[in-house]
Symmetry: C2
Subunit: 155 residues, 2 copies
């Protein structure tokens, strides 16, 4: 309970509570995804922003809102994306205060690579389950997760 239990084997206490098990497995999943993305030189935060840009350029303020990231954090993230050549700031056509963040070709490639990474990692994670078990897990989690937010309108 106390911390991350970085060790590779599941503490016995955790194995007895479905809630703790959930946290344990999710922590493991997070670690796997971040490690896999890290090998491609990308953080989960950066992927989040790139994903939000898939549908077209966005103002920084919208990105902050959508991803629920504080504005100063978004500044840093977009600096990183620009440094990597994955996205760039351009002046907003009508609002001179704002910048639009545009996805660059290298960023789109990175997104495709990230898609493959996420898919592979997911496959590894759930390989011990049958397709039926996996489908049932998904539907059960969906029910536990509660209502789904309405679709975001594009820029």
């Amino acid at each position: 309970m106390v911390r991350n239990y970085v060790g590779r084997s599941l503490p016995r206490i955790v194995s007895q509570s479905t809630g703790f098990l959930l946290s344990w497995v999710a922590g493991d999943a997070k670690h796997r995804f971040e490690a896999a993305l890290g090998e491609a030189g990308m953080t989960a935060h950066q992927l989040g922003v790139l994903t939000a840009l898939r549908g077209g350029p966005q103002m920084q303020a919208r990105l902050s809102e959508q991803l629920e990231v504080f504005k100063p954090v978004m500044v840093t993230l977009i600096n990183e994306l620009e440094a990597a050549g994955w996205a760039e700031r351009r002046p907003h056509p009508t609002d001179r205060r704002a910048v639009e963040v545009h996805l660059l070709p290298a960023g789109r490639q990175m997104l495709e690579r990230a898609d493959r990474i996420m898919q592979t990692t997911t496959e590894e994670m759930f390989s011990s389950l049958t397709p039926e078990e996996r489908a049932q897990l998904h539907s059960v989690l969906l029910r536990l997760a509660g209502p789904i937010a309405p679709e975001e309108p594009a820029s």
Copy 2:
């Protein structure tokens, strides 16, 4: 992906990946447990230590190891437990460097209260599942979690 998605409704992207769903549901679970414990004036960290003391007094160093908490953090945690009257430090019978941390009656009561809280919260969380679904979820998560650590020998 990026951060905590503090909002109460599930972003659409998350709903499509079993891995993300897992993280989402686990985050929600963590929030529920911590809120419920908080109402009883207890943190999850503190509960972790109290639970470790259930089987008998422990040296601080062992507690740090078992719970994978850094030594300075354990100092703070045990200070908190002493301030709350739930546990106390006593000199180790043979090793004059060490202290033994003992569970006090108020701590044992708190543990029982925490047990009830955890049980109630678990019940709330999984109330939308049938007993069969819940059992299958548990067994599937157990498989995803991997090997279970061997029992800790008592102090």
